[in-house]
């Protein structure tokens, strides 16, 4: 495959994730509404919201520093790059040599770092509250994510996503206890990282219970649009990541023709729909946890990751 097609497919992937992300968020909201026997807003509503926010003026706190203004773009950029690295419909993308799981964790960690700083920047009570809660969760979620990465790397022999996907979709890996543990751990981390119920409630109006929303309360206009889009991208990223690691079916290989690429894209959209529906069904069936229960919830993911790693040291076939 030539350089030009390579860049073409990589560009397509970058556009695809941005284009699909609000749709996934809209889909989750829509399914939740339908499951609660409400009509619900259109799946396109998040697109309209972002378009509306882009047109609106930005209201800045008087004491907001440059950091507060720059943070939305930094957060969006970091999340977008991270989302573009995950193989969605094809592996062997032009940037796949950078598509390392540890780089992914680092990119998301940087985005979180800037968001927490921005939340503290204007000095409101809610910003501080949200930032401290987010950091408390992150201190558990990040190690859990890394341990999951180790399990995957030990099985696949690489932390590079393209290689991992090729290995996992091959015949040698099969069903493994350690991978099952890693899958559950990754799902728990995904729920926490995206601020979904039971960790955080993305649709709450109660300032005092918010985590992610408390941090972005002071944002408006295009800044808020960037943050909303980044949040949607992050959800898409985690669903894509779980799909490409644990359900790598249909992903086009390096050098495949247009037919395989088209099939890969179709399979990818199908996986997103399944992931979104499962998330919605889970969210309406549980209540939000007490804040101080969340570390033990994430601790469970951490232990699973650790156990998976240890199992692989005992035997490479587990």
């Amino acid at each position: 495959m030539g350089m030009i097609e390579g860049f073409g497919i990589q560009g397509l992937q970058m556009l695809l994730v941005v284009a699909l992300a609000p749709g996934l968020t809209g889909l989750v909201r829509r399914i939740k509404a339908r499951l609660m026997r409400r009509r619900g807003a259109s799946i396109l509503q998040p697109y309209r919201d972002i378009a509306r926010l882009m047109r609106k003026e930005v209201v800045l706190a008087e004491n907001a520093s440059w950091l507060f203004r720059a943070a939305p773009y930094l957060i969006f950029a970091a999340t977008w790059v991270a989302a573009a690295l995950v193989p969605t419909f094809a592996t062997g993308l032009q940037f796949s040599w950078t598509a390392d799981l540890i780089a992914l964790v680092a990119l998301l960690g940087s985005a979180r770092f800037f968001l927490a700083l921005a939340a503290l920047d204007v000095g409101t009570g809610f910003g501080g509250l949200g930032a401290s809660r987010e950091m408390m969760f992150a201190s558990m979620a990040e190690p859990a994510m890394l341990l999951t990465v180790f399990v995957i790397a030990l099985v696949a022999g690489s932390t590079q996503l393209s290689t991992v996907v090729q290995a996992f979709s091959g015949p040698t890996v099969g069903l493994r206890v350690s991978l099952g543990m890693a899958a559950i751990a990754l799902i728990i981390v995904a729920i926490a990282e995206n601020g979904r119920i039971p960790v955080d409630n993305p649709s709450t109006h109660l300032e005092l219970t918010m985590v992610h929303e408390a941090m972005v309360l002071e944002y408006s206009g295009r800044h808020l649009a960037m943050i909303e889009l980044a949040a949607a991208l992050k959800l898409l990223l985690y669903v894509s990541l779980i799909a490409c690691l644990f359900a790598p079916w249909g992903i086009a290989r390096e050098g495949d023709g247009p037919a395989a690429l088209a099939f890969g894209a179709l399979a990818y959209v199908g996986k997103l729909a399944v992931g979104g529906s499962a998330l919605a069904a889970f969210e309406i069936s549980v209540a939000k946890m007490r804040i101080f229960r969340v570390p033990s919830f994430l601790g469970f993911a951490l232990m699973l990751g650790l156990l998976g790693t240890l199992l692989l040291f005992v035997s490479r076939t587990l």
Partner: protein
């Protein structure tokens, strides 16, 4: 002290049917009464002021006693001996300019310095200053979070000042008064009919309870006879109102724990109640349906059928929601043990409604200060001892069942005849008292009749006056993130409290 307790001598039957007698007391006797309250010898039901002075309504068992201290400038503080009186005294000072001597808290309460005038119901003076010092909390690593009066959701305005150590709450102080409408001034000199409209607008979710309490007060002051059918129709409306609010709040409380499913289903049932009320009485919330002398709209066959159908539907669908609540461990994990209200505090503050009944205070105006037609209906008053968010939800679930039974009885035995009667001429100076069990608790209305069929003075007391301070007590030691859940489980009225 026994002299004072002897003054609690008006039994239920007497104040329900006749003008309310009052005992003029000396400042010394007034203070003795305050001490008796502090010792728990009687319950404080209301404390308010009029042009004559300050009034204190005491309850002991089924008897009430109204003490009046005639004064133009000051009175001995009741709050010094009995904490539940403190906010009422602050409100008296704001509205009437009467100073509670020796009061522990001299800050304004309803007056935020934005009325352009001070003491609007007494001798008006220049506006007070807007500065308001919150109570201090000192210590290592404490931080404050200020919430409201404008909230992210569409709820009433109130300011909450949290002092927390990390997530753990050290102190919560509420500041209310943002929904002040000047009910006292609007009522003064209003006609009895207009008074009913104002009373019904004091707290929108309890409009039937307020209108009924007001009607009771006026009818007692005038010695009016109300047709039997009207009383039964009022009870029917009051039970529909209770049903709508309980259903809505059970769902809303669960939603504040992030469990939106309950809200969605309870919301549907609440909507059904409102539509049935609309079909039966011509207004979803039944506003302006209760008037002195009777009700403004009689129930026809179609309305009767709509309510009967409603009861059938809720009986069919509500048990599944109760089962959902009972079998969702993630939800129970949030509600059990959260926001515990000490039964001793509930008794001391005479907390009405489900708040009191979830904390061992088995008081229900319908049973303990009985009024028609409840004296001829069968119902139970559920009571629990655990006092947490879960207990308040379970009490309300039990009350939904009782209310459905009551509606059944009301529909089956509804007497015929007129739905309203003309009111007799009033005697100026007569006072009347109304006490009705709203969904939050006992709603009190007191009126003094003026010349020519007008109101000389009035006082409407929401049950929330005694419940708001308990929210502050119940939240102590909980975490900030649990406040919305605790607060919703109390669901006190802002508008009814702010007057």
């Amino acid at each position: 002290m026994n002299d004072i307790l002897d003054k609690i001598d008006t039994d239920t039957a007497a104040f329900r049917t006749h003008a309310l007698p009052d005992h003029i007391v000396t400042p010394g006797e007034w203070e003795t009464a305050a001490l008796a309250l502090g010792k728990g010898a009687a319950e404080l039901t209301a404390l308010w002021a009029s042009r004559r002075g300050v009034h204190m309504l005491l309850r002991a068992g089924g008897n009430l006693g109204l003490l009046t201290l005639e004064t133009e400038d000051s009175f001995p503080s009741v709050g010094r001996h009995h904490a539940p009186a403190q906010r009422m005294e602050r409100a008296i000072r704001d509205l009437h300019g009467l100073i509670p001597e020796g009061a522990p808290d001299t800050r304004p309460w309803l007056d935020h310095g934005r009325w352009g005038v001070s003491h609007p119901l007494g001798r008006p003076g220049p506006a007070t200053e807007a500065r308001y010092p919150f109570l201090p909390a000192e210590g290592e690593s404490l931080h404050q979070v200020a919430v409201g009066p404008v909230h992210a959701g569409i709820i009433e305005p109130g300011h909450f000042r949290f002092t927390a150590q990390g997530e753990t709450l050290v102190r919560l102080e509420a500041r209310l008064g943002y929904a002040h409408k000047g009910i006292g001034a609007l009522m003064r000199g209003a006609s009895l009919t207009r008074g009913a409209a104002i009373a019904g607008r004091t707290s929108g979710d309890s409009t039937v309870a307020y209108a009924w309490a007001y009607a009771q007060a006026v009818e007692a002051a005038l010695g009016a006879r109300v047709p039997e059918r009207a009383l039964w129709l009022r009870a029917l409306m009051a039970e529909l109102e209770r049903l709508a609010n309980h259903l809505g709040d059970i769902g809303a409380t669960c939603n504040d724990a992030g469990f939106a499913m309950m809200l969605a289903h309870c919301g549907v049932l609440r909507e059904r109640v409102l539509r049935a009320a609309d079909a039966a009485f011509g207004h979803r919330l039944m506003r302006d349906c209760v008037l002195p002398g009777g009700v403004s709209r009689d129930l026809d066959a179609a309305g009767h059928a709509a309510i009967a159908e409603l009861v059938r539907e809720i009986r069919a669908r509500f048990p599944a929601l109760v089962a959902l609540y009972d079998t969702s461990p993630s939800l129970l994990d949030r509600t059990v043990g959260t926001g515990w209200l000490d039964p001793a505090l509930a008794a001391r503050f005479a907390a009405g409604g489900f708040v009191g009944r979830a904390s061992r205070r088995a008081f229900d105006t319908r049973r303990d200060l009985a009024y028609a037609p409840y004296d001829r209906l069968r119902f139970e008053v559920p009571c629990r001892e655990d006092g947490d968010v879960n207990a308040r939800i379970l009490i309300r679930i039990a009350e939904v069942g009782q209310t459905l039974d009551l509606i059944d009885q009301l529909l089956v035995n509804l007497p015929g005849g007129e739905a309203s009667a003309p009111m007799p001429e009033g005697t100026p100076g007569h006072m009347g008292l109304g006490l009705v069990e709203g969904f939050r608790g006992d709603v009190l209305a007191w009126v003094e009749i003026g010349p020519g069929g007008t109101l000389a003075a009035s006082h409407l007391r929401d049950p929330s006056w005694f419940q708001w301070p308990l929210v502050e007590a119940a939240i102590e030691g909980n975490i900030i993130a649990d406040f919305p859940l605790c607060n919703k489980s109390f669901n006190c009225s802002y508008s009814g409290h702010d007057l």
